[in-house]
Every structure is written in C-alpha cells, then in structure tokens.
C-alpha cells in the first residue's frame, strides 16, 4: 500500500460542493455522531481541567458544579509548594530522566542501526536476529533479572536504572527502526563521501543522519512519551519520595488525600493536568513526523 500523503487528512472539497453536501440528512447524522464522540473524549479532560481550578468547597459541593465560580489559578502554584508532596521535584526528576533516556536511545540506536545496515562482519546476522527476538519478549520477563542486576550494582533507589540502559542501544525497536531507514538510503552516497576522504563517523554524522530526520524525530517522541509516562520501572526501583518521578509521585499523592486535615483533591487534579501537559507538548512538537512513523509501522509491519 502506498502512502500518498504523509498524514491522512481530509482534503477540503470546493466550497459550493461542501455546502450542498452538508444539507443532506446523512451528513447531519455524521456530524451528530462525531460531536457525540468529541464529547465522550472531551468531557473527562474538561472536567479535570475545571476541577483543578475549583476551591475546596466547590470540589466537595453536592450536587457537583462543573464550572468554578472564580477559576483558582493559584491552585497550580500551591500544588508546587506542598512540602510532603514535592510535585516540582518529581517533575524535574521525570524531566531529566526523560531527556537522558531520549538522547541515549536516539544516539545509540542510530549507531547500532548504522552498523547493522552498512557493515558486514562475522556474526552480524546472528546478532541482528537476537536483537529482533527481544521484541517478542514482554518487558515483565526481563524486569526481574534486570532488578537483580541493578540491585547487585547498588543502583536501587537511584535514577540510574531508569536511563542508563537507554545508552546501550536503546532497545530493539529503535535499532530496527533506524536500520530499516539506513537501508533506504542509497549506498552511493556513502561511497561518494568515502572517495572524498570522509571517515565513517563523518559519513554517519554529516551525510546519513541529516537524511534520517523523520525516523529520528519519531523515535525521540515515542521514547520521550514512554519515559515520561513510565510507571512500572520507577515503581520498582524508587523507594523514597524525593526520588519519585511524576507518575509514581501522582500515585503517592492519590494515597495521601489531605495534609493537616486540609483536603487536596483539587490540587491533585492540578497535578494531574501538569503531568499531561508535557506529553501533549512533546506530541505536538513532532506530530507530523510521529504520525507518519506510526502509520508506516502499521502498513509495512
């Protein structure tokens, strides 16, 4: 199947044709259906946003109110300054772990992909098969031996197990993705550069990588989203609240609904929104490439 457009979008019909089409009853039904779904997806998000701007009284009002009388934007400042629930620290922890994980994955997966795509050496195919085979194993299988390994290294309750592995190839998916894209670039390009006296690192960095922007952005977004949202690994490795990432911290927050008798439900909603924002921003920053990558994985996979 060929992808004619990088991103599936509806092509706007000429104005007159569209107006005539809208008048048909079947179109009206379609609009009603799409708006119904928009409500189903939009309402919970909007409710949470509104809940994060309520006062305590409005939070516990019965029957519940949807819109706060006066939006309490101060909730977002207050949620960052609760001593027992250091949301700001958790956000920072998750942010720097996400940055290091993404950087490590993109750099090392490209290097390994380059090696698999461009060089022939003994055992290359066997190594590639082993790499692919790890894709079929669920993370749960490797989680326990990894935990034992990091325990022996004395890395429990540090952030190291969460980002250091990304610097060792970044996982089979990234390697496979990069290899496939390296293979799409004609070898003539490498050879021409080689004749001009470029070294292999130079070819990798200055000739090939600039051509691989779409898969690199795709890989960076997938990795960043997964790392930012990750819960299963940090919950295993981190014990003390000052080490938590935002996901683990948010769960910790849920379990301590008040401080000194003051309910924090509205602040929890603010923390919830704060957790979502970076994910949405990461997505929109590279949406064009990302959607293309997802679609290609589905159609060629």
């Amino acid at each position: 199947m060929a992808i004619s457009q990088p991103f599936p979008t509806a092509t706007p019909a000429p104005r007159v044709a569209r107006r005539r089409r809208m008048l048909r009853p079947s179109r009206v039904v379609l609009y009603a259906v799409v708006l119904f779904f928009a409500a189903i997806f939009g309402f919970p998000l909007l409710w949470t946003l509104m809940a994060s701007l309520k006062t305590v009284q409005e939070t516990f009002a019965y029957p519940p109110v949807f819109f706060p009388a006066v939006p309490q934007f101060g909730n977002y400042i207050r949620v960052l300054s609760i001593e027992r629930i250091p949301v700001l620290l958790w956000t920072w922890n998750a942010a720097y772990i996400t940055a290091l994980t993404t950087l490590g994955t993109v750099i090392t997966a490209s290097l390994v992909g380059y090696s698999f795509a461009r060089f022939s050496y003994r055992g290359r195919n066997a190594l590639f098969l082993i790499t692919l085979a790890t894709l079929t194993l669920p993370a749960q299988v490797t989680l326990i031996p990894q935990f034992v390994l990091f325990h022996r290294l004395g890395w429990i309750n540090t952030h190291l197990p969460l980002w250091v592995p990304a610097w060792f190839g970044g996982g089979a998916f990234g390697i496979f993705l990069m290899r496939q894209f390296f293979l799409t670039i004609p070898r003539d390009l490498d050879e021409a550069a080689l004749i001009d006296g470029a070294s292999y690192p130079r070819i990798f960095w200055s000739v090939l990588l600039p051509l691989l922007k779409p898969p690199i952005v795709t890989l960076a977004i997938i990795t960043a989203l997964a790392s930012w949202s990750d819960y299963q690994s940090p919950i295993i490795y981190l014990n003390s609240p000052d080490k938590f990432t935002i996901s683990v911290g948010l769960h910790f927050f849920v379990q301590s609904p008040e401080v000194g008798g003051e309910p924090l439900q509205h602040l929890l909603m603010a923390a919830c929104i704060l957790t979502m924002i970076p994910a949405v921003v990461i997505f929109f920053a590279g949406q064009r490439y990302f959607v293309q990558g997802v679609v290609m994985s589905g159609l060629k996979g």
Binding site: V33, V34, T136, Q140, I144, S229, I236, L250
Partner: protein, 233 residues
C-alpha cells in the same frame, strides 16, 4: 491467585479487544468521511492516548467517584436511585477498568493506522460498486473489510498483547481490588516479585506470560491465512 488472575486477564482481554478494535475502526470510518474539522477531531480523539497512564487513572477515579463524580451525579439527575459504585465495588471494578482502557486506546495509534489503511483503498473499487448499484453496507462488507484485513490483523495482534499486559490502570485505581476484582496476571507477577520478593516465582510467572503472548500471536498468524487478504503482493 494464579488461575483466577489469569482468568480475569482473559475476561478483560475479551471485553477490551473487540471494543477497542471496533471502536477504533468506527472512529476511523467516521474521520474518513471528509467532514469539516476532521483534523481537530482526530487530535481530540488522540489526546487520551497521550496521557500518562497514572494521570489517566487519576482522572477517571474523579469522573467515576461514586458520590461526587459527574457520572453518578448525572445518573442520579436522570432518576437512577442507586447508581453503580464503579471502581469501588467488586462487581463493577473490572468493567470500570475496561472502560478506562478502551477510552484511552480507541482514538490512539490503532485508529491512525486504520485511517491510513482506509485511505490506501483505491477509490475505483467504490466507484465500480456504485455503478453496479451496491449499497453502503455491501461496499463495506465486500470492499472495505477485505481490503482492510491486513490492517485489522496488525491492530488485533497488538491489542491482544496490550490487553494481556494490563497493569498500571488497575494497580493505581484499585490496587487489584476490591476483593481481587481487578487482580490481573501482571499484578500477580508484580506482587510476587516485588512485594513478596519471590523473584524466582515471579520470573516463572513472567515466562508463562511470554509463552501465552507468543502462542496467541502465532495462533493469529496461522488463523490470518483464512481471513486476511493481501492485495497485489
């Protein structure tokens, strides 16, 4: 807890996979109708998929809160005297966790892949069918479904794998409860390995999961020969 958690995971998979696949396909068909504002709707449908799982669960815990949540408030306003307890009661917790996961999944990558698959179907097929006087339903059954079958197959495999690995939503929302109602297989692994520190037993459980996943995938690859149609290649 081994067999019950495994059984519960299969029940979840049976509820989740058809809802997610049919829902995603329906949304993709809807977005493929060239309605005004399609890009906006597609983005809105996709956002739940972007939300980190813990934030997603916290959000839904507020929505489904039995006393003050908007769902039950609406139900009471509509005259339901005794609305369900959702995540808080044993008989509705599993359904609630399923709803949360379906809501997060239907507008996500599955839908995008369906949408791209739909746009890969040559328009001439539909035109030819229209000339022959085929109904919309016949076109869907005889053109869309067969042409889309490789995409359906791909999404189906991924959805089943994802469903069998369900963890975070259930663990954050209910800690596997109430009364083990959402105690899924991966929760069982997590509990044995990292709460009871039975690493060996946990590893064995994880390998059983791996074997189940691989068996499911191979079975689908085998079964797919009967229903997946590859055009051209």
């Amino acid at each position: 807890m081994f067999w019950p958690s495994l059984g519960r995971t299969f029940v979840f998979t049976l509820m989740f996979v058809p809802s997610a696949i049919i829902g995603s396909l329906a949304l993709a068909l809807l977005l493929n109708q060239k309605l005004k504002g399609t890009v906006l709707f597609r983005t809105l449908f996709y956002i739940p998929h972007l939300i980190p799982a813990v934030a997603l669960t916290v959000l839904w815990m507020a929505i489904l809160q039995p006393r003050m949540g908007p769902v039950n408030a609406t139900l009471r306003a509509l005259g339901v005297a005794d609305p369900p307890g959702w995540l808080a009661t044993q008989d509705t917790a599993l359904l609630s966790v399923t709803i949360i996961n379906v809501w997060a999944a239907v507008g996500g990558n599955t839908m995008l892949i369906f949408l791209a698959g739909l746009q890969g179907i040559p328009n001439e097929y539909y035109e030819a069918a229209s000339i022959d006087g085929a109904s919309a339903w016949a076109k869907f059954r005889k053109i869309t479904l067969p042409m889309l079958s490789p995409t359906i197959f791909f999404n189906l495999v991924l959805a089943i794998i994802a469903a069998l690995k369900v963890f975070t939503t259930a663990w954050v929302a209910t800690q596997g409860g109430p009364s083990y109602a959402t105690w899924f297989f991966v929760l069982h692994i997590y509990n044995e390995a990292f709460q009871n520190f039975r690493m060996g037993y946990g590893s064995a459980l994880a390998w059983i999961l791996a074997v189940i996943l691989i068996a499911f995938t191979l079975a689908q690859v085998y079964a797919s020969r009967r229903w997946v149609y590859y055009d051209g290649d």
